[in-house]
């Protein structure tokens, strides 16, 4: 579906998504016309979905980030649906992932400081429906965070 030219374009775009098209064409070694044709096609087939700004929550005063690894009570048939619906309503939850494995759901939660985190944890998170077990991982640092696909 994608050929080497597409992959070269995607590699350069992933490395610097803000690059102007003329510079991108140069780095990927294609003409401006080829570039726009390839981009158009990758959008059409749904490979290229768009761009998003990355928010640095620390700069907004949210110094704490915690990964909550959650096991649900699966004897309840609506456990996943009810839980996810309620978790989406907690403003400090910035990411929800579901898994096949030892963990059912992971929530990424941000807070201003430890007392604020405790408040959210007790009032909003421990009260989520069908929760069977919770484990917390506190983020210390991000060593690599580019989410680049090795195309």
């Amino acid at each position: 579906m994608l050929d080497d030219t597409d992959r070269r374009i995607l590699r350069q775009m992933q490395a610097d998504p803000d690059l102007p098209l003329s510079a991108l064409a140069g780095r990927a070694g294609v003409t401006a016309a080829t570039l726009s044709r390839r981009l158009e096609r990758m959008r059409e087939i749904g490979v290229l979905l768009g761009k998003r700004a990355e928010i640095n929550w620390q700069a907004l005063g949210y110094t704490i980030e915690v990964s909550l690894r959650i096991t649900l009570d699966k004897t309840q048939s609506r456990a996943f649906d009810d839980f996810l619906e309620a978790a989406r309503k907690v403003p400090e939850v910035i990411e929800i992932q579901t898994f096949l494995g030892q963990v059912d759901v992971r929530l990424a939660v941000i807070a201003r400081d430890i007392p604020h985190y405790q408040e959210i944890y007790r009032a909003r998170l421990l009260t989520l429906p069908h929760l069977a077990d919770v484990e917390a991982l506190m983020h210390v640092s991000r060593i690599k965070d580019n989410e680049v696909f090795p195309v």
């Binding site: 998504p17 761009k51 096949l100 690599k144």
Partner: protein, 152 residues
């Protein structure tokens, strides 16, 4: 921390969903002029609140059918260097993110692979051979959603 008002938060919300819209388009939706919107975006970037732009790609259509999160516990702490582990794990192309965490595990990795057998290859040849890697727990990603966060 600098103060950001409701308009700044609305801009952040909009750009975190779609960063390809121009300051003019975004401004019209927020009842702001193009230059005023542009100035606010620049201020958010300068303050580091917008830390960068990410490409949104369809991972399945790119051919990466499997995403696995690994919790890695280091074997004998003190005997191995965190820097060596971090340098080696960062260099693996299939490893998209590396987070140093406190708790049950020492590191949390996001790994992409073509399929399960490709993942097994990455796990055996790349992850298990990392300097100091001890216990590894794997969870296969089924679904993922990003939420706007506390932006009012």
């Amino acid at each position: 921390m600098t103060d950001f008002d409701a308009t700044d938060r609305a801009i952040l919300r909009a750009l975190s969903r779609d960063a390809s819209q121009s300051a003019g388009t975004l401004g019209r939706r927020l009842d702001l002029s193009q230059p005023a919107t542009w100035r606010r975006i620049k201020r958010l970037r300068d303050a580091g609140v917008i830390s960068g732009t990410r490409l949104i790609l369809d991972r399945e259509k790119l051919g990466f059918g499997v995403t696995v999160f690994l919790g890695v516990k280091l074997a004998t702490k003190g005997r191995i260097s965190l820097e060596d582990f971090e340098r080696a794990v960062t260099a693996i192309p299939e490893v998209q993110t590396v987070e140093h965490v406190l708790g049950l595990y020492d590191y949390r990795l996001r790994v992409v692979a073509r399929d399960l057998s490709d993942f097994e290859r990455v796990l055996r040849r790349r992850i298990m051979t990392l300097p100091g890697a001890g216990h590894v727990e794997a969870n296969v990603l089924l679904s993922e959603e990003r939420l706007p966060g506390p932006l009012g």
